[in-house]
């Protein structure tokens, strides 16, 4: 209990003193996770929607695989990305290992199936509602996908936020591909792991509270910006 209280105190101290290291790793956490979220959303939202409206031979198998990929172990993803980006790997020449870009790649791989799967579920229901109308209006596939994404944007926001939640709290993969290098690839989660390992539980807890506050802040900000609970919306 004392350690939790000390953690809260440490969090306040770090925040109100605008600790330079804290600001740096917080901004890096945001940069990595938000970039991964944007990239994953660009892939997953249209793919999940396409999957909802398209009928093809291996559709069921594709959906089952996508759902299974939601549970991808981050450590395994980290290991695979590490091998791909390491000097002897196929993309080693790009020199991306132990950079924020490598961390973004790992996070994109982890959260894309999650966002795509939730998108597919949501869009399947909306497609059932809109199907006859959009067929009747002679819409192209592209127009159908665009319409579903636009009209289902509030549900898709939930999918995106779930992806962000997974990304910002992820530690296994980014520890492997980022290396937790101070002033280079250290983010909140890897810093917590480091401080816990060092036995500085108060600082680790403090960083943990900052992480939770950050996740809540981003969620509130996105909800406020998209006006999900505004009167008169759906």
């Amino acid at each position: 209990m004392n350690e939790i209280w000390a953690g809260i105190q440490a969090a306040f101290r770090l925040i109100f003193s605008l600790d330079a290291d804290l600001v740096e790793i917080t901004l890096r956490s945001l940069q990595v996770s938000l970039t991964a979220l944007v990239v994953a959303s660009v892939i997953a939202l249209p793919f999940g929607t396409w999957l909802a409206i398209r009928r093809f031979r291996y559709r069921r198998a594709t959906i089952a695989t996508l759902n299974a990929l939601m549970g991808l172990p981050p450590v395994v993803v980290g290991l695979i990305v590490y091998l791909l980006l390491s000097r002897s790997g196929p993309f080693g020449v790009m020199g991306l290992l132990f950079t924020p870009t490598a961390m973004i790649i790992a996070q994109v791989i982890i959260i894309t199936p999650l966002i795509a799967s939730i998108t597919h579920q949501a869009m399947r229901e909306l497609w059932a509602e809109y199907h006859d109308l959009l067929i009747s209006l002679n819409t192209t596939k592209r127009q159908r996908i665009a319409t579903l994404i636009w009209d289902g944007r509030r549900t898709l926001l939930t999918a995106a936020l779930a992806g962000f939640g997974r990304a910002i709290g992820e530690v296994g993969a980014i520890m492997i591909v980022g290396g937790n290098i101070d002033h280079a690839t250290r983010v909140l989660t890897t810093a917590i792991a480091l401080e816990t390992g060092k036995g500085d539980f108060a600082l680790a807890l403090g960083l943990g509270f900052v992480l939770i506050a950050l996740a809540l802040l981003v969620n509130f900000a996105i909800h406020a910006l998209s006006r999900t609970e505004r009167e008169g919306t759906w």
Binding site: E129, D132, S136, L137, N138, W234
Partner: protein, 238 residues
């Protein structure tokens, strides 16, 4: 004014779902003009016939042949469903949607939306969410959204089912105006009064089969089949 609508023929049309025959086999030709009412009791195949003609449902056997190429026929049609499907958008955006699909410019869309909002009596509700409109308002919006593209052929599936007298009258007025503007209308109903008010010709279906087709006055005064006669007399026909 819309261009002259195409005519359509069904030959050997058969629709089966899970081994059960829903419609047909039937051969039917509908002329290029007029107001055709498809009459029949529940389960007669009225909605299926309309959806097959419009291309929303597929035939199990047979063919639908329009007097113009299929793609051209599809582009010039609109469909109003029995339960109006509202996009999760405002009334304004619902009206604008079909025009946006056609790539019309914003000024033209705004002018047409304003015009049609007035025609359907929703000019004061333009910024309201369409899914929150009343049943009558939703049906009028669905009709306005269908007519805003000036379709040559308009399909309506029981558009006045569950509506009160006032809403029904307003919708019928819109349909008459559309017909006078040159739109070919094909509509299902089991409301005989409405059929008498609107139809120029009739198709009578029973258990998925075509029982009678002809001019409306002849159908109402001298039906040729016993089933049609019983239906007109208000007997229960199944």
């Amino acid at each position: 004014m819309v261009e002259a609508p195409p005519s359509v023929s069904l030959s050997g049309a058969l629709v089966k779902r899970r081994g059960k025959t829903i419609l047909g086999p039937l051969d039917l030709t509908l002329a290029a003009s007029g107001f055709t009412i498809v009459l029949g009791p529940n389960g007669a195949g009225k909605t299926t016939l309309l959806k097959v003609l419009h291309g929303v449902d597929r035939l199990s056997e047979g063919a639908v042949t329009w007097s113009v190429p299929d793609a051209q026929a599809r582009e010039s049609q609109a469909y109003v469903f029995q339960s109006p499907i509202m996009l999760r958008r405002s009334v304004r955006q619902n009206l604008a949607y079909p025009l946006q699909l056609l790539g019309e410019d914003k000024a033209s869309i705004a002018a047409k939306v304003a015009d049609w909002a007035q025609r359907i009596g929703l000019e004061d509700a333009l910024d309201r969410p369409a899914p929150r409109l009343s049943g009558g308002e939703r049906q009028k919006l669905a009709l306005g959204r269908a007519l805003i593209r000036n379709p040559q052929v308009l399909f309506l599936d029981e558009p006045c089912a569950n509506l009160d007298g006032r809403s029904t009258r307003e919708i019928e007025a819109l349909l008459k105006a559309a017909q006078q503007a040159g739109t070919r209308i094909i509509m299902t109903t089991h409301d005989l009064g409405q059929a008498r008010r609107l139809a120029t010709d009739l198709v009578f279906l029973l258990r998925g089969a075509l029982h009678e087709q002809g001019r409306a006055p002849a159908f109402f005064t001298a039906p040729r089949t016993a089933e049609a006669k019983a239906f007109l007399e208000g007997d229960i026909v199944e």
